[in-house]
Each structure stands twice: as C-alpha cells, then as structure tokens.
C-alpha cells in the first residue's frame, strides 16, 4: 500500500504507519521541487532504486512536517524504516529530515513528495517513475516473468 502526500497523512492517521504529519514549520503551504535520498531500496515501491540514490521530486503541502516520539523515531532508524530523507534542505521541519517511511512489515509505504508528478521527461524529469515501475515489474515478474527496460536499464526485482 502506497500513500502519497494526503495519502501518507491518512495512513498515519489510520495507524497503518507510525508518526504523524503536522503543519509545516514555516506555517505556509509549500509547492516546489526538493531533493530526497532513497534510504531503503527493499520495499515494493523502491526496489527499482539504488540505496543512496538522490532524486528531485515536487512537494505541495501545508502539513508535511513528520513527527514521532523519540522511541518510535529510534525504532524507525534502527529497522531501516525511513525510506526517503530530504537532503540539501528540509522544507517543512520534519524530524530527522524524514520524507517517507514504511511499516515494520515493509508493505505499507508513505511519502510526502509526489513521485507521480515527475514520471516523464516532459514534466521536467522522471525521478519518480520507478516508484510505480518497481511495483509493476514485481507484479509482471510474478505473473508473466515480463521484465521491462526502464531508463535504459533493467529493473532489479
């Protein structure tokens, strides 16, 4: 299950993901591209990426400041549940620069930036495309063994 932006907020409120999303630190809605680093490539939505890869993705939110209590935050870090982290600049004051997390079972993932808004060259880049292609490739492989070349390389499944 993947929750993007409002979807991430819903997953947190539904208790499917730890933590919560609060008003941006600067108290304003913020719409701009940001840099994030892939911290975990072992989820169904990130296994098309390399760990440590840096991406440009747009954000557009007023409530994107990720918070969690100290204990939860430590657990997230220890278990590698931080999936994406803001680099260069933390746009909203999120704890530990967290941009996206997953649950302990690694099958529920939430992210504040919008990978779906940057999935084609005509939109200024396709750094977000592999979030969806990862899933598609996994599905395809499970069902038909159909591997697809993406960005000139084959997806690792």
């Amino acid at each position: 299950m993947l929750g993007i932006c409002n979807g991430f907020q819903i997953l947190c409120e539904a208790g499917l993901l730890p933590g919560a999303l609060m008003r941006n630190a600067r108290l304003k809605f913020l719409s701009r591209p940001v840099r994030v680093r892939v911290e975990a490539a072992d989820t169904p939505f990130t296994d098309g990426y390399e760990r440590g890869e840096e991406l440009t993705l747009p954000i557009a939110h007023g409530d994107g400041r990720y918070v969690a209590d100290t204990e939860t935050a430590a657990l997230l870090e220890a278990n590698g549940q931080v999936v994406w982290r803001y680099v260069t600049e933390n746009p909203n004051g999120s704890l530990h620069d967290i941009a996206g997390v997953c649950n302990a079972g690694r099958n529920v993932v939430g992210i504040m930036p919008h990978p779906e808004r940057r999935n084609a060259q005509v939109l200024g880049g396709q750094d977000g495309a592999r979030v969806f292609l990862s899933l598609e490739a996994r599905n395809a492989t499970q069902h038909a063994g159909d591997m697809r070349a993406v960005d000139g390389r084959h997806l690792r499944v």
Binding site: F29, S31, P58, G62, H114, R117, N119, V122
Partner: protein
Amino acid sequence: MTDPQITPELVQDHNLTSEEYARIVAMLGRTPTFPELGIFSALWSEHCSYKHSRPILKTFPTTGPQVVQGPGENAGVLRLPGGWAVAFKIESHNHPSAVEPYQGAATGAGGILRDVFTMGARPVALLNSLRFGPLEEARNRYLFAGVVRGIGDYGNCVGVPTLGGEVDFAPGYSGNPLVNAMCVGVLKEKDLIKAAAHGVGNILLAVGSSTGRDGIHGASFASEELTHESEQRRPQVQVGDPFTEKLLLEASLELIASGHIVAIQDMGAAGLTSSSAEMAARGGVGVEIDLSKVPTREPGMTPYEILLSESQERMLVVAKTDRVKEVQAIAAKWELAATPIGAVTDDGMYRCTWQGKVVVEIPGQRLVDDCPVYNPEAQEDPIVAQLRASAPHAARSYTPLDALLALLDSPSLASKKWVFEQYDSTVQASTVIAPGGDAGVLRVRHEDFGIAVKTDCNSRYVRLDPYEGGKATVAEAARNVACTGARPLGITDCLNFGSPERPAVFYQFREACRGIADACRTLGTPVTGGNVSFYNESPTGAVDPTPVVGMIGLLTRADRAVPSHARAPGDGVYVLGETRAELGGSAYWEVCEEFIGGQPPRVDLEVEKRLIEFLVTGAERGLFRSAHDCSHGGLGVALAEVAMGGPYQEAGFGLDVDLTPHAARLTSHELLFSESHGRAVITCAPERAAAVEALAGELGVPLFRAGTMGAMDGAFRLTLRDGAIDEPVTRLRDVYYSAIPRRMGD
C-alpha cells in the same frame, strides 16, 4: 415577514436610477414587487448588464477559424488538435477581496472554475492577476498575504494547479486591490454544452449546496465604489468550500456526459436570479420557479433573499422532463442534493411563486436585454496629457549596477517565488513549465501538443497612454506565450477600471479597448469573452486602469517547450528586436527617479508578429535553449533574469555581454532600461547559432549577437560604452529572490 414598501429611497438603495426605475414600471405596467426590485437591481447592475461597456465590447474581434465559442457563454472555447478544445475565462473578485481577502480570493477561484466546467471542460489550470498597494503599508501586506493564501488553498483542495499569474504593486491600488482569477479547461469539442434552456416542460433543478444568506447583492456591491463603510459589507462576502466544489465538478461533468440534461449554469453573481434568467433568455423560453422548493440553509428566508443569495458551490441544471430521477442519482453519487424547483415554459415569462402565490412576473427576454445602455462621455484628464509630455527633472547619479540592483529589489519586478510557492502548481501531473517563467505550459495526456497560458497587464502604460497600453498588454502576453514556443491563439480579458461615469475613466476604458482590439486583430488572437469590473475606486480615487489579458497559446509539441532561463555555460546570447530611447512609463524612472510619466513605448504590431513567428518557429525546430521576453525593467533586467536562472536552480550562470554595438546612439541607462516592445533575449547552443541567425534573417527580425553565458556562479558582465557592470551573479540572485520575503517578514 412582509416586504418593505417600494419608495424612491429603496430604489436608490438598489443602485437603480430614477430613469431605470421608470423603465421598469413601464415594462411591467405596475409597481414592481420587492423581489422584482431586487432582481432588476442585480441584473441591471454593471456587473451583470455591462450597461456602460457593451457598445465598446462589441468592437472586439471575436471570430477566427480557431474559435469554437466566442463571447456570450460562461466561457470562451478555442479549437486544439485531435478534436480537443480549450475553454477559458477570467473574472474579477476585487470588491470582496478588498474587505475579506482570504474568502474573497478563494471564491474568485471557485466561481471561475464553475464557469469553465459548466461548458463540459475539465479544469486543468488556474491563473491570476493581482494588484496591491505598496508593501510598506501593513494593510497591503495583510491583503496580499490573505489573497495569496486564499487562492492557494482553494486550488490545492480542488486539485487544479495554479500555473501562473502576475502580481504588481502601485500606490493606486491601496484600498482597492485587484484580484482577477482565470481558469483553463480542456474538453473534446463534441462534448461542448451551452447554457441555453430549452424544451418546454423540462425541469429546473438546484444542484449542490443549499442557499444561505451569504453574498446577497454581491453583484450590486461589485458595481459601486468602495467607501469607509465597505468594511461593513464583510458578512456579504461568500464563503467557499473547495471540497464541495470538487464534488460539483465531477457531478457536473458526469451530468453533461450523461445526456440527461440540456443546460447547466453556475449560480454565480446574482445567484439563482442571473442563472435562471440568463439561461431562459439565451434559449428564448420562459421559466417558472417555485421558490419555496429551493433548499435553504437558514429558516425564515424570504423570496428576495433566495433569489439574490450568492452562496457558493451551487448549480442550476435543466433536465429533460423524464430524466429527473437519473439526474438525482448522479448527484447523489457525488453526495449532492438535486432538487426540482421549476420548469421551462412557453410563455416567455420569468415567473417565481412563493407558497402558491406569484411574487415575480417579468417578460424574460426584456429583463435581460432591455437594460438601458449608456454611452458615457469620454475625455482625457489634462493632467495625464501633461504627465505624458514630461520627464524626470534631474537624472540622479545611479551607476548602471546600482540601478539594476534597485530594480531587482523592487517588488513589482522581483521574483514572485514567495507567491507561487504557496500555490500547488503540479497537481494533475501535467505541468511542463511551472510558474516563474514567461508563461505556464501544460501537456494534455496522450497527446503531443501543449497549452501555454499567461496573464498580463502593465497599468503604467495604460494610465499614461491607454491606447498604446492596451496594445502593449496583448502584445506582451502574446510574446510571453511565444517565448515558450506556443503560437498565440486567443484571449479572455478582465477590464478593471474606476467609475465609467467619470469622463476621464471612460476615456481610459474606450482607448484601452481600442488598443486591445487592434492588437488582437493584427496578432490573430480573437477575444472570446471576459469580464468588466468598473467602480474600482476607494476614498483615495480610482485604481490605475488595468485591462488584464489572459492569453492561450498552442505548442505543437509540449516536449519542445522553451524555458526562460539560461541552462548551459558557453551558450550564445542574442537580443532580438530594436532598443530605442523609450524610458516613458519605465520601471527605471519609477524606481530610480520616483517618476511615473513620459510617453510609454509604442507598439509596432507588425514587428511583434514577426518576432512571434521567429520564437515559435525556432522553438519548433529546437533551436533555443532559453527564450525570455524583454519588457518591464528593460534589457538590463531581462539579461539578469536569464543569467540568474530559475527559482530552484542551485546557482545562476555568469554572462559576458558587450552592448556597445547595440543601439549605439543611446546612453547606458536608455540602453539598459528602455522598455521598447518587440524584443526578446534568447540563448542557444553554439552549434545552433548559424540556424538561429539564418532564421532571423529569413523572417526580418533584427538580431544582435550580444555575448555568451559564463560558468555556474560566475560574473554577470555587461560592457557599455560609458560604463560596465561586473558583479557576481549570486549577488543579483540574493537581491532578486529576497525582495518580497524581506518585506513580508519571512
């Protein structure tokens, strides 16, 4: 509750003159009822009737092979490739925003969205055009912040990207800000629906929110001058609910596609009254409405209040006689009520009943068409003629660099990043060029083409020379979309002026419209509709005349869209067009000499046409790395903007340009800051230089090879005959990007 007696005072309170009232009595053959008086007051207000502007608006060119729907509908429609069409319209929400900036601006966006999706189009972009007084005043900062937040929140919640706009600041807008909102939607041309009621016996349904007491007489409020008492109008400002709007959008598009309805219109300005009367008049039929069936939010609402409420997120739908249940089912799917409130009749009467009694009975066509039309006196203010003939007293000793930095720091010219960062500009995942460039560009999924959109107006030019100013507004908007590679297709306009009853104001209006009409004719961009906003006056006087143009352009290939900013070191820098000694109305005189006057630059429309052809052809052939309009702030600011890079670029580029051979007779300041029209700055890869030069020669566009782009974070170097600028581009960026946040305390 009994209705008040109709007295001359009551008539006056309804903004109707005694002549207009006499016309009403003659039409009805009796004294109007109180609800009827309210109806006439709303429909014969300037906002709804265009009674002072109609004869002038008729002079606009409105036809062309690309026009699917011209003025007279909820929105204009232009043809796109592949059976697609684009519906678009701009509208003002100035008066509500002056007293309640957040809701005023939010509902401005909401209203214009409804005008577009009632044509059967899915909204794909919002734009705006905003004017405020100087940010030094706390009240202006409050209005600016509130309006930006209102637009941003509404657009974000309803899921439509804000793709661009413009913001300007001048003392003339203190106390009367301008808030114009534009919406752009796409549809398949065959799915277009018009708001004309027809089919006797067809059923009128109120769809969406229930009717409350908010916004009663909004249309009349918008047709009077702002006074110190206007603050008391605050409760009249409507409150928006973008989540209901989203449901209404989906329900409306589904209803239109279903074939169950024949017409649909927003209950916007003057609410139920205008939507029902206008749909009936367009279709040449009568309607009968039972007001007691209209769902209300509050108990005890009177027929008068129900007719004139401007509660938001409501639609009037005309359903086929036997499809009421189907319409209700679609509405219910989107959690909306759809209540039958009346029917189409064959007697041409606009009739309303209340608890079985007829309370309104007016000949429908005459209600809409017989509003008196005025041809007010037009006379230029002699002070303006004097101002146009004057120049600043003594030139101050600004070095070229100091002048450039002062311009980059002026809020009118500085980066609007603080503004557009608060707008969701990427929702719907189709944004090709986001705000911050010459124009916004979006793609249409599964198609090659793209749509460029831009709003524009330089009110300084219009104030000093309304005819040239009107021409310049269209020319600049066309140039802006052409810089992205789009061919200008057509416009919508929002004409913001003071009181038309003052000859000096009506002169501005008439001349600006003549300029717009001439420019649209030559550039082949017909006017497809728009809005007139008069009475933009506060106790300190009329606003600067501000005829805003919303331009649509078509890119044959969205993936060839050209950005405004340089993208690679070593690229060639070219100036297109001629620079003349034209500092009249310039930002340089305003900022550095504190003087707004002189003859604004004149527009040669044939020159503009050739430049547009060059920009569009060059982009289609993939010749340019960047293209940027050269206008407000002149060549100095244009070159700086090219070099400083986009708002999210980590660093700017150096630039090395020698301007000594360009327009050699001009002084440095004239060369750098004249705002001559018909110019642009492009950059191109070295291997494309020959093709660029050949194309300019072929099309007869003057081209000057000015220099090359330098390294990231390099020096911004301009060589002039009697001076030079040599400054790290980082310093320019710091000034340009911090000017507005600093004033807003961020």
